[in-house]
Structure formats: structure tokens, C-alpha cells
Amino acid sequence: MPAEAAAAKTRATDPSEPHMILVDHVTKSFGRGEQAVLALDDVSVTIRPNEFFTLLGPSGCGKTTLLRLIAGFELPTRGQILLDGQEIGHLPPYRRPVNTVFQNYALFPHMTVAENISFGLEMLGKPVKEIADTTARMLDLVRMEHLAGRHTAALSGGQQQRVALARALAPHPKVLLLDEPLSALDLKLRKAMQIELKRLQSETGITFVFVTHDQEEALTMSDRIAVMDTGHILQVGTPRDIYNHPARRFVADFIGDINIIDAELESVSGDRGRITFPGGGTATAQLQTASMRPGRVSLAIRPENVELTDPGDARATTQGEIENVVYFGVGSNVHVRLRDGSELIARSAEVKGQTGDRVGVILPDEHLQVIAD
């Protein structure tokens, strides 16, 4: 492991930093011996108070396992989980001040909406008056007062979703865990619920840990995102950080559309590097990892940051030919074949050229990222 990465890992779990949840070198494997599957491999992450934190990654990346470890449905094989300074990694779920919104909602079908919502408070042994008051407040919060006496099986998907939220929020947990709660809803409802969730988070001030494989959802709602793959956290940052400065090829590829170009790193000065393209042209790019050495590297640039111009334009970084123009409503994707044979996409609202035209390609320095594989 490179020294920088090790340092970053230690920094990620500094207990003096304000935290709500601190996942400290947690490993989780399922099964024994040769059939053992490593779901989480030495993962460390700090989730701050009052934060909307998202675990983002493809299925099987370990995001749900991490959530279940925080909830207490699984126990870590190694490592610690701290909640507000207290080790909770080995407590049963009913002793953790953490509540979950399940992917399939898991509402109790033999109870009414109100009974579902008051269940947690009842189990905590709260006074009857307080249970009634809080339940009423929660019903109001998710706008379900009119259905309080209804059985949950008769509700629509969106309504079930809101009951599940109210039920998990009612005991006022320190952390609310959400396991892909929007995946069962149709697109329009999903958009509405995204805004609703964000509203609930700021109104209640509870730390939300949200699991999703939908990058757009993650970018829309989160304060910070952890991108995960094969049991590792690859990058933690604000949506802007993650989108504009992906540190790894996987992150760049997973979030939005991006061009990955092979190039040669000539020299390094500070956090910037001198680049030459195999098809000709040079540029200065930002380095995402300090340990970069000259040699072959991957360059990343978003399609909307690629500019096309006349072949003779002095600002052009390199040259190419338009292969195809694909219109998609608010703009077009222009597929450009570079001189070395690689393909690049430029996105813009208006396109001047057409298939077969020779073009100059401008890759602005400030948008070029050298990324690690």
C-alpha cells in the first residue's frame, strides 16, 4: 500500500474529528475456509453529525453489508464501529440508537399505519402520552394523518415508503439508515421522494446514511458520497468533488459520462503534470494522486468540458475527425475519432460540424484529470 494511501486511511478515522459514525478498519467475510467471501476489506470511513451520507456503488460492492453492520444485522469479522464515541459493533440491533428504512419497507402487515409508527416508541417503553404525540407528529411529518387507521397492505408504494420513513424516524434515532428505499418507486415518484427525503433530513437534523446504486440519486441528495467497489471505499467526497475530481478510473466511470484517454505523463511539478497525447498535442493536467510518476497514465475529462473548434485553431489541444453526431434533446453528443485511433465524446447544445469533418479538439487544462486505475 502506498504511504499516502495509508496516511489517508488513518486520517479517515481520526477519533478527534467530529463524527456520528466511525467505521474503523472493518472487515466482513461470509462463510468459512475456501468458500469465504470477503464483502468488506478493511474499510474505514467517518460519517459526520447531521450529514446526508451516501454509500454508492454497483451491486455486490459491499454497501448494503456496511449498512447492515451499522444496523447490527451482521457482526464485523474484524474492526470496530463507533457511534458518537461508543463502540456498537457487537451490540444487537435493539440496543443501537439507529433505525432502518428497508428496501422492501418491511411494514408490519398485521398493524395499522399508526401502530407501525408507534411500535419503536412502545418498545422503548415511552409513556403513552408521548407515544401518541410523537406518532401524530410523525404522521403529520410524512402527510399520512388521513390514513392512520389503515392497514399497510392497502397502501400504495409511495405511501408505504412514507410510513416506513415515519416508523424509523419516530424513535428519533441518532442515525437513520436507508437501504435503496427508492428503488421500488417509479421515476416521477422517485424524484418527489428524493426532495422529500432531503427535507426530512434537514427538518429532523438526524444523520442519514443512504445506500444506492443510482449515481444521479447520490449526486442529487448527498452532502458527501463514498464510492464503493468490491469491498473497498474508493473515494469519499462531496458530490462536486466526486464528479469533478474523480480520483480513480472506477469512480470516473461510475459517476456520469466521462472520456478516458491514454496519454504520457512527461513531468510532474506539485499537483500538476505535463502531458503529451499519442496523437500529438500537449496539455497540463491536475494529478489526483500525489504519488504519480512519469509514464503512461489515464486522463479523464467530462464530455461537456470538451470543446470542438476549427482544425487550424491555435487553442486546439489535438486533432480529430467527427464520426457521428447523436442528438438527445437538450444537446448532442459528438463522437470524435482522434488521430491515434481512440474515440472521444464532446457534448454541447449546438453542433456546427457533421460526420466526416476534421476538427480541432480543445481539452481545457482545468478540466483534465490524471487518474489512478
Binding site: 444496523a71 447490527g72 439507529v98 432502518t100 408490519f108 419503536g120 418498545m123 459520462d257 478516458i260 447523436v326
Partner: protein
Amino acid sequence: MADLTASRTKPVAAPSARKARRMTDLRRQPGFNAMAWGCIVFLYSPIVVLIVFSFNDNRSVVRWTEFSLRWYGEAFQNKGIRNATVISLQVASVATFFATIFATLAALATTRVRAYKGQTLAYAIINQPLMVPEIVTAVSTLALFTIIKKATGVNGIGYLMLAHTVFCIPFAYMPIRARLEDMDLTMEQAGADLYATPYQVFRRITLPLLMPGVFAGAMLAFVVSLDDIIISLLVAGPGETTLPIFILGQIRRGITPEINAVSTLLLGLSLFFVILLFWITRKRK
């Protein structure tokens, strides 16, 4: 390279799929209807005969004369039938009660635990009474009870109830286990997540959701106990004649319309349970 514009068309459900399904539909096979009706007639014509002649105003069970409830009246008057019915209901109730409790515990122990060594064996042991020929169980139970009776000097209907409880357990176990396996585990996790201790989860979530299975198991156990003859015949002591034993004894002296009437009532009772069961499971789903 990811491309937003790449079309993500969903495969359209082909109309030929429905056609294919219609072609493999069993009901469209030649002779299906004849076969189905044949089965129904074979199964139910004896029962129809039984019911019809229970309302016959005549001693004969083969010659119809006139409609009457006479044999029902006589059956109710018959002291032997009345005593046997009371014994049967007592034994069935006690056996059902205990068998259902044990079956529920067994079902929980075989589904709501981390996989353990010998789980398959446990499952086999619980279901074994279904496989062993009943006459073997009856003879061995009789032998064991005789030893116990000799050693302790204790007699009574408790032995019959115990024997019934034992063979009712696997019948009660099956629907309860099926229900538990169908039940979404996240319900119970949600309960634990909302601060319910394992006992509270069982009391407030698992058990209420399990009730249709428990009812189904209990009814099955009740009917099986009510219907049992071989074990009852061997284990029952003097004065512990159950209804099936009584009917068997009567039939040796020829079928009487009185027996038809009792049998029809028994049939009605089990039909009632079947309908109740159907109604409960449908309501819960």
C-alpha cells in the same frame, strides 16, 4: 465509455409467449376433461351415497323410500354414539393443543436458527411418524404404555391423549413450517431494529404473522386425531371408545342408517374445518 444516449430499450413481451402458454396448457390436452370428471366421480360418489341414505326413512341402506331426519334423531339418542363423540372430542382437543405448541416450537427451531449440523436429521426425525407404518407405531406405543402402566400403576385416558399428541405433531408442523419459510425475515429484523428484544419480536411480530399457519396446523391435527383408528384401537383402555372405534364396532353388525348419519355429521365437521382454513389463509394473504 459510458454514453447517455445509448438506447435502453426493454424487450417487448412477445405475443407468441401467450400462444405458447396456451399450447402447453394441460386443460387443452385431449381427454383432460373426461379424466378430471372420472376422478371426481370416483372420489365423491361413495360420499354422495352415504349422505343420501342418511336421510332415508328406512332401515335399508340400498333402497330409497322417503326423506326423513329420523336416523339423526336416533343417533343423538344413542348413548354409545354420544359417549364416543365426547371421548373423541376430548382426545382431539387435548392432542391438538399440545401437538400445536410442540409443532410451533419445532418449526421455529428448524427455520429461525443459524444453520447447524444435524438440521436435516432434526427435520427427518420430526417427520418420521409420517413414514413409519401406523400399525408399527400403534404396537410399539401399546408395548411401552403397558410397561409404564405396570411400573406406575397409573391408568386413564391420558395415555390415549399422549399417543394422539405424538402422531399429530408432524401434521401440525408442516403448515407452520411452510408459513415460517414463506415469511419475510426482514419483518423480524425490522422489529429488532425498532428496539424489540428477541422475545418481544416473537410475541409482537413472528407469532401474529404465524397465526394462520398455527391455525392450519391445529385444524389438521384435530381432524387427524378425530379420524385415527389404528393407534386408538390398540391404546384405548376400557371406556375410552372413540367415535371411529364405535363406528367400526357397529359396522361389524352391518351398516345402519344411524352410522350413515353420524358419518355425515363427521364429514360436515371436517368440511367446516377445510372451509375455515381456506378462509383464514385467504384473508391473511
